[in-house]
């Protein structure tokens, strides 16, 4: 079979038809699967135990470098935001890193059992909630605890960060619900800016 004959055959090949009803229902089936999976959920209990074990092990190693009993200092903010820790964790756990949290008890990581964390630019969050002061590096679509509720961290096309939860909304311009009681600063960390100067702590 020569080349033109093959080209003609391929071009003439048709797709099987599907009914209009199929096309009408297909988007709902996808959305249904997403809703059932709880897209933003950190999923099932068994991996939580594994993640906690791994986080604890990692914490022991990182503790030599970053362990601070006192509230996080400007250096710890810088360490997290500048990227070496983040890059190392992303390298070690590709697709599994939900968040890195630095608080008064030290550095913690939240890892997924499977490589199911969406690749997106990291988001740097500084949260002051009463006496508690935390720095979190996470990714768009991940869930964190903030202001006593679960909130989803999202970034838009322009890199603006918003936090949404039940009775909670925060953006740089607007805070509503329980977000009003919390001091938050957030920004996306594009890879190119990973070595830029960190902001001063709140």
């Amino acid at each position: 079979m020569n080349e033109p004959e093959l080209n003609r055959l391929l071009r003439e090949s048709k797709m099987p038809d599907r009914s209009e009803g199929y096309w009408d229902r297909f988007p709902d089936r996808v959305v249904g699967r997403l809703q059932a999976a709880g897209t933003y959920e950190a999923k099932s209990q068994p991996w939580r135990l594994a993640a906690l074990t791994m986080a604890a092990a990692f914490g022991l190693v990182m503790g030599f470098i970053l362990w601070h009993r006192a509230p996080p200092s400007a250096e710890t903010f810088a360490t997290l935001r500048d990227g070496p820790v983040l890059r190392e964790l992303l390298r070690q756990y590709p697709g599994r890193l939900h968040a890195i949290i630095q608080d008064g008890n030290g550095l913690h990581t939240l890892l997924s059992k499977d490589a199911d964390v969406s690749p997106s630019d990291p988001i740097w969050l500084e949260i002051r909630d009463g006496e508690a002061h935390r720095v979190i590096v996470t990714f768009s679509g991940q869930k964190i605890r903030c202001g006593g509720t679960d909130v989803i961290v999202l970034s838009d096309l322009e890199g603006r960060v918003i936090l949404i939860g039940d009775g909670f909304f925060w953006s740089r311009q607007i805070s509503t619900g329980s977000a009003e009681k919390v001091q938050i600063r957030a920004e996306q960390i594009p890879e190119v800016h990973m070595n830029s100067k960190p902001p001063r702590p709140l």
Binding site: E3, R11, K14, D17, P27, V30, P119
Partner: protein, 177 residues
Amino acid sequence: MVTDDEGILIARSREGDWDAFAALIRIHQRMIHSLTYRMSGSLSDSEDLAQDTFIQVYRNLGSYRGSAKFSTWLYRIALNVCIRWRQREKRRTSTDRDWAEADIHGTPSDARSDWIQEALVQLPPKQRAAVILTAFNGLTHSEAAQLLGCPERTLSWRLFAARRRLAKLLGKSNKLP
């Protein structure tokens, strides 16, 4: 690189608006099904792969920067989903059986198209993707290489190998339906 309407739907989908995401799916579902069918050779598998593609799309909307056309970005995700699926799918016989079976969702195309599709699914996934992009979607070698994330030279080689194999498969049977 997105239309105004599409940009709005993307932004709303990122905010968790399911209706907006369903509307995005409606715009692109036929294109994605076409690709997943060509890649899998099975109507039922192509539906699963199309669903997996849109689920990946939703979960990765945060990383879409708008520098490429949305449809191109989506297409790339679909290709990766299909290629990974083929790598996992070792039971080729099962796929062959699936595609040969009448599908409950759709009506068969025609004998000649099925015959070509049968030959197509016998190609390795990356070669098949190269043929689909160039022969069915009309992309240039350069565009297809960019989409598949490989050098143009690699794509040309895959195409050469794929065409040689296809010609052999289709010529061997010598039974143009």
